[in-house]
């Protein structure tokens, strides 16, 4: 049972945030009042 060092926690968090934030942002922005649809 090994604990992650703080550096690893930060790097994992930042890495996954980099991967997932654009997708989440896209989903949030897709709820808009567009006149096209």
């Amino acid at each position: 049972m090994n604990r992650l060092s703080p550096f690893n926690v930060v790097s994992l968090t930042l890495g996954f945030a980099f991967l997932y934030l654009p997708m989440i942002i896209l989903v949030i922005y897709s709820f808009n009042a567009s006149k096209l649809v």
Binding site: L4, N8, S11, L12, L14, G15, L19, I25, L26
Partner: protein, 296 residues
């Protein structure tokens, strides 16, 4: 006999779906443009008999390949693609290695979950993910709004439609390809080796540098090739995120094919791109073979 049949199946697949289309592309690259459907000349006609076949081969020439050397655009595009691919590979390493390292050092029961989290973006649409970066990086997009709101900058940063956006796009889409081979190499690393290094007097940092990095070299090299080879031929990312000065060979190929309707020159560009890529692909294969031999 049965083994021959078993090997024959992937060979037939490759023959039908790679070799024959490639021969067709080479043939088109040797033809001339024509205002016809399809837009090249000569075309293979079985009914013309032996004389027809001889005429067919007489019409093929290397004119398009000579044309590629005369126009500056093409070699500049090749060089620019090479540059962008190399820099993107380096940047992906800087971003992907910490992720792989964190994954490899995580507790055992987390690792499948973390691996699934890294692979999951592949299950979503590639194009939509690139579109999301367009929204973030544009001048009145999220990043600029955030930075302006905090007060770090006074004017919006111009990131979209530049090379920087292309780098970000390639790093973003290649990140899982980069992390997974490095993670595979790091997971095999024995924790006791690092303990032994520290017992012998290494600091944490030099233990990392002297033990972890050389042992993960195989994974790093495999990841490099997995990012570099697709990055050279990228079209979607430079087309959506790059500007008009972003010269990449994928974009040039697309424009040559669809805007100029010049199938022969486009095919010549494609053939030369494949020839250029053969070198890293052969190196990659050799690297993989060496790794397999070293293990088994």
């Amino acid at each position: 006999m049965r083994r021959l049949i078993l090997i024959a199946i992937p060979y037939v697949w490759l023959l039908a779906l790679f070799l024959i289309p490639f021969v067709i592309v080479v043939k088109i690259s040797l033809s001339d443009t024509a205002l016809a459907r399809p837009p090249y000349f000569p075309q293979w006609d079985w009914s013309l008999g032996w004389a027809g076949i001889k005429d067919f081969f007489a019409e093929l020439d290397f004119e398009n390949f000579w044309f590629l050397t005369t126009d500056d655009l093409y070699w500049k595009a090749y060089l620019s693609s090479l540059r962008i691919a190399l820099i993107s590979t380096l940047m992906t390493l800087l971003v992907g290695f910490p992720i792989a390292y964190g994954m490899a050092r995580a507790p055992e029961h987390w690792r499948p979950t973390l691996m699934m989290l890294v692979i999951l973006p592949f299950w979503t649409s590639f194009l939509i993910r690139v579109y999301s970066w367009m929204g973030i990086l544009s001048q009145n997009g999220l990043l600029n709004a955030l930075l302006l709101g905090i007060g770090v900058i006074d004017e919006p940063l111009i990131i979209l439609n530049t090379d920087t956006a292309v780098y970000i796009g390639i790093v973003y889409t290649s990140l899982p390809f980069r992390s997974l081979p490095i993670y595979a190499a790091l997971e095999k690393l024995d924790g006791s080796l690092l303990e032994a290094a520290e017992d012998l007097g290494c600091s944490r940092l030099s233990a990392f540098w002297l033990v972890t990095v050389p042992l993960s070299k195989q994974g790093v090299i495999a990841g490099c090739f997995l990012v570099f080879i697709p990055a050279i031929g990228e079209f979607v990312i430079p087309s959506l995120l790059g500007g008009s000065e972003t010269l990449m060979i994928g974009k040039v190929l697309y424009e040559e094919f669809f805007s100029n309707r010049d199938w022969p020159v486009a095919s010549a560009v494609a053939v030369i791109l494949l020839l250029i890529l053969i070198i890293p692909i052969v190196l990659f294969q050799r690297n993989q073979q060496k790794q397999a031999e070293a293990e088994g």
